[in-house]
Structures are given as C-alpha cells and as structure tokens.
C-alpha cells in the first residue's frame, strides 16, 4: 500500500508540475497586464509542435528548443500588438473573448500545419524510470519540476532584484505614476506577452515527452492551468506553482484511491471549495493588489 501511495504521489507531481508551468505563465501575464490570456495553452502546443518539427529537420535538440521558444515569443509579441494593444481600454471580459478568439485561430493554424497527428519528443535524459521505494519516477518529471522551480526563481529575482522588474511592479500598481516616472505600461504589456510566449513554449516542449503533443492539447492545458492558478491565488506567482502541484496530486490520489471517472469532478469540487471559502486562493492575501 505504501508503495502505491508513493507511486500516486510521483504521478501527481508529474501532472502537477505540468499544470504549474502553465499556471505560472498565466498568473505572470495576468498580474502584469490584467489580461487573462486563455490562448496560453495554444502557445504551449505550438511551441512543442514547432520544436518537434525543427528537431525532425535534423537540428540538434537544444537548438530546436531555443529557436522554437524564440519564435513563439515573437508570436506572443506580435499578437499583443495586433490584438491586445488596440483593445487595451476594453473591459476584462472583452479582452478574455479576444484571447479566446486568438486561441481558436491558433488551434486552427496548428491543425492546418501539423494536422491531427500526435507527435512526441524523446525524453531529455536517457534511461528508464528511477525506482524509489517500489514506485517508478519518470526522469522527465524532474526536468519539468526543475523548469517550474527555475522559472519561479528567475521571476522572483527579476521582480525583486532588478530595476526593470521593480519598474514593472510600479507600472502594475499605479499606471499614471509609472508613466510619470517614464515607464510606459503598453511597453510592459508587450514584453509580458513576449515573456509568456517564451514561457508557454518552454512549458510545451518540456512536457511533450510525457504528454505527447496534438494540435488541440492547448485547450485542456489552459483550463487546468487556470484552475491551478485560482487554487493558488491569481495574485501570487508562488501560489501558481503550489496550486498546480496540489491539483496534480489531488487528481492522482482521487483517481488512484477513489474513482478514476470522478477525478476531474473532484478537482473541480476542490476548486469550488477554495473559491467559496477562500476566494483569494491558498497563498493569496485578500485585498492585495496584484503580484
């Protein structure tokens, strides 16, 4: 039984780190721009598909990754200028619908280019799973978790230790004041989308060896990332990671111990419980203003 519990924990952490990455990108963009980017899952899908195609041309794996991340980052920036910037004064709901529209188009584009096939990437490190206490742990899970932790540290360092990071925080807290000291919120928004493009693509690439990649995988990823972000608290970057891990572990335990058919429902019930009892999320502080 104990090895079963451990196995479920490992599985949950694998899933959880996938959700964490998406939630992280979602929360970062949301806090900087106020836009809940529902096309983020598509960024991940396109990033992974691009990397797979580039790799298939004979490019070294690492070069394919970097090129793909750069391309999706550019795509993020272009989309921000084309669709978000012109509507920057619109309401939150309008902006959400715009990102839904973008995600629909991106999915169509991916379908056009890559078709309906499923693609996969080789695992980053060779060799089979580790066995710890009779439970198997996939090495790729460690890569994914590592990326989440790395991203989190980088974000923290950026916001707390660099001038640019503090400037962004300032822009978020008070637009007018930020403008007065020479920070342009629309530039900040642009770079936030470039960053979320890069982060989304990286997430997609890291999870591809585990999840496999289809043109339409972004939708479900986006939703799960969204749920994870709310559980952790939309205003908190660390909460996003924690929310993701929690969601993954919960799903895994409910599938393994209660009912596999009801695992998504249980995750939703937890979500609702958090929403109704602690709407600021697990790590969020009520009344806190973004980041």
């Amino acid at each position: 039984m104990s090895d079963q519990l451990l196995q479920l924990l490992f599985s949950g952490l694998t899933l959880g780190s996938i959700y964490s990455l998406i939630a992280l990108a979602l929360v970062t963009t949301f806090n900087i721009t106020g836009v809940l980017n529902l096309a983020l899952g598509e960024f991940a899908a396109i990033g992974a598909l691009l990397a797979i195609s580039l790799y298939a041309t004979g490019m070294p794996l690492i070069a394919a990754f970097i090129l793909s991340i750069v391309l999706v980052a550019i795509m993020g920036g272009v989309l921000e200028r084309a669709a978000i910037y012109p509507a920057r004064r619109a309401s939150g709901l309008t902006l959400i619908i715009i990102t839904i529209g973008l995600s629909i188009s991106l999915r169509g584009l991916a379908l056009l280019i890559w078709g309906t096939d499923t693609y996969s990437l080789p695992a980053f490190s060779k060799g089979g799973p580790f066995f710890i206490g009779g439970a198997a742990l996939n090495p790729q899970s460690i890569w994914i978790l590592g990326l989440a932790v790395l991203t989190l540290s980088l974000l923290y360092a950026f916001f707390e230790l660099t001038y640019a990071g503090r400037a962004v925080k300032a822009a978020v807290i008070n637009r007018t004041a930020a403008r007065l000291v020479g920070i342009n919120p629309s530039t900040v928004s642009f770079w936030a989308f470039v960053g979320s493009g890069a982060l989304g693509a990286a997430a997609g690439i890291f999870i591809a060896p585990v999840t496999m990649t289809t043109y339409d995988m972004g939708f479900m990823l986006g939703i799960k990332g969204f749920v994870a972000a709310v559980i952790g608290g939309l205003s908190n970057v660390g909460g996003a990671v924690l929310g993701g891990l929690l969601l993954g572990v919960l799903e895994s335990y409910s599938a393994g111990l209660i009912s596999s058919g009801l695992k998504d429902a249980l995750a939703i019930i937890i979500l609702l419980a958090v929403l109704l009892l602690r709407p600021q999320g697990i790590l969020g502080v009520l009344g806190e203003r973004k980041i």
Binding site: T33, G34, V35, L36, A83, P86, A87, R88, R89, A90, S91, G92, L93, T94, L95, I96, I97, I98, I100, G101, L102, S103, I104, S105, L106, R107, G108, L109, L111, L112, R175, P185, S189, I223, F226, V227, V230, L234, G261, L262, D264, A265, I268, I269, L271, L272, L275, L276, P279
Partner: protein, 341 residues
C-alpha cells in the same frame, strides 16, 4: 407632402410587423429543410442567450456554466420520456424546472463571487454537471447517451418535421422576447440595471441585490433548460458531448458578440455565430480549393478578435434605432470583470 407623410406613417406602422411576418412565412417560401434547420438552431441558441443576456447585460454577472443547464434540460427530457414514459409536455416542464432548481441551489453561494472568480465558479459547476452526464451511466447512458427520444406532442399536434419545429421554436423566441421587453421596463428591470451600473449604489437605494441576481441566474437557467428540452425533442438523441465547457463559452461569445445589455443582442449574436459557421463552410472552399475545417476555425477566431477590437459593445449597438431606455444600459465594460491594467 401630406401624402408623403401619410405614406411614411403607413410604412412606419406596417414595415416592421411585415418583416416579422415575412420571416415567419419563410418556411413556406423556401423549400429547404437545411435552411429551416439553421433557423431552428439559431432560435434554440437565442432562447439561451436571451437568458444569459439578462444575467450578463442587466444583472452584470457572467456565467461559464450554461452549457450544463442546457444539458440538464436535454437530459431531463431524454430520461423522463425514455426511462419513465412521461408525457413529452410533462418532460419539457421538468426540463425547465430542474435547471431552475439546480440554479437556485448553487446560485446563492456562487453569486457572492466576483469577477474572474464568478467565471471560475460557474465554469466549475458547469463541468460538474457535465461530468455527471458521463458518470451517472445507469440514468444518463454514460458517454453513449440516450437515443430514441419521442417527438414532442401537444394536444394531438406532433412536432415531427422541421417546419413544425420552426414555428414552435420561433413562437417561443418571440414570446421570450416580449416577456423580456416587459421585464426590463418593469421595476425589476430597473433594479437590475441599477445593479449592473453600481451594485453599491443599488444596495444603498434599498435593492436586495443578492436576491435579484439570484433571480436573474435562475431565470437564465430556466431558459437554458427549456432550450435543452426542445433540442432533445428535435434531435431525438442526447449525449454529454454538446453540453460541455466549450458550449458554455460559445453561449458567452454569442451574448458578447451580439451586445450585452442590448435588447436584440442575443438574437443577433446567436444568428451571427451560427450563420458565420455555415457561411464559412461553403465560402472558404471557393477561395481556397480543397480547404477543410482548418480555415473555418482560423477565420472564425479572427473575425471574433476583429469584432471585439472594433465593436467591443457588440453588434446589438448597430440595431439601435431610436432612443429607448435600453440605450442607457451598460455595455460590455460593465460586466463585473476587471478593467485591463
């Protein structure tokens, strides 16, 4: 001059009712079950989006869970008629009441949420209901669904073809339209608008905002259930697939595209989304030979984005002809979601 004025007056009095009549005569003129079906589907969605429009445009509350209520209506009809042999009319009543009951239960805690959290909460309940369709296999037939739903019969009249369904559904649509027109001019309507403009102010003015929002939520669930029940009678088959989160998003899209807080927005939104899909289906192969659904999806998304950038208040704003109380009603920006930045 007098004659001209007189003509104008005649025109004013008769032109628009004539348009309604012309529309209603459509099935007799066009001999196409396909086009009639398209209109039936538009009608079905209009019924749902009308309710959602009240909730979003007037009470200022968003819901990403109406696909679930739509499904509850469909399943109520399917289960009651095939499993328990209820009369179709009774089953249709169940299809209206059940979602209303569920909405009453979940509405109270959920509507305390604001902005994005409300969106999440309603999405959560929608997904829960959808999961239930999949999991309660004994009752719902699981993922395979329920087939063999009988036709709707009302007092000897059996709705077994497209033309009859067209009249049934559009009669309901017009009824709902008139009903809502009266509602928004009533005390309740004014109170609802007050909420969407400023909840605090409304409360100060002595409006029980919680109760009113709940009523709007229940009302929209009832309408979604009604449409779901009619859908089940029309297709005679239900499965969980059409009632998921995607559908809920689609309904919100229709409401926003049509224009929130505008009287005819729901009708326009539903018509535009459905017709756009159908138009793209044949138009794109003309431009790009051999193209499939891929282009359709891309164009649909792009049109949506462009519309939202240049017409964030929705299409309903085009339809405004004269000054009416509705004009002062809130646009999309007043739905309880955060301003950007």
């Amino acid at each position: 001059m007098d004659r001209f004025r007189c003509l104008m007056k005649i025109k004013k009095t008769f032109l628009w009712p004539a348009a309604v009549l012309l529309f209603l005569a459509l099935p007799l003129v066009i001999d196409s079950n396909y086009l009639i079906s398209v209109l039936i589907v538009i009608g079905l969605y209009t019924i749902i989006v009308q309710g959602l429009g009240i909730l979003m445009g007037y009470a200022g509350q968003v819901s990403f869970g109406h696909g679930g209520f739509f499904g509850l209506g469909g399943y109520a009809v399917a289960i009651m008629t095939t499993r328990y042999g209820w009369h179709p009319v009774l089953a249709l009543l169940a299809a209206i009441i059940l979602p209303g009951l569920i909405a009453a239960i979940i509405g109270r805690p959920t509507l305390k949420l604001r902005e994005l959290y409300l969106a999440m909460g309603t999405m959560g309940f929608g997904i829960l209901i959808h999961t239930m369709f999949n999991e309660a296999g004994e009752l719902t037939g699981g993922p395979s669904g329920i087939a063999g739903i009988p036709y709707l019969t009302i007092g000897g009249l059996t709705f077994d073809n497209d033309i009859k369904f067209f009249y049934l559904i559009w009669a309901v649509v017009l009824l709902v339209l008139f009903g809502i027109n009266n509602l928004i001019r009533s005390r309740v309507g004014r109170a609802l608008r007050a909420i969407s403009e400023s909840e605090h102010a409304a409360e100060t003015a002595g409006i029980d905002t919680g109760k009113l929002k709940l009523k709007a939520f229940i009302f929209s669930a009832l309408l979604a259930g009604l449409a779901g029940g009619l859908y089940a009678f029309y297709v005679t088959f239900v499965s969980p697939a059409p009632f998921g989160f995607n559908t809920s998003v689609q309904f919100v899209l229709m409401a926003v595209v049509g224009g929130l807080g505008t009287f005819l927005g729901p009708l326009l939104g539903a018509a535009l989304v459905v017709l756009l899909g159908e138009l793209l289906r044949w138009a794109i192969p003309l431009v790009i030979p051999g193209a499939g659904g891929e282009y359709e999806i891309i164009f649909f998304g792009l049109i949506l984005v462009v519309l939202m950038i240049y017409r964030p208040e929705g299409l309903g704003a085009f339809g405004k002809i004269s000054k009416s109380p509705m004009e002062k009603t809130p646009a999309a920006s007043d739905v309880g979601l955060p301003e950007s930045g």
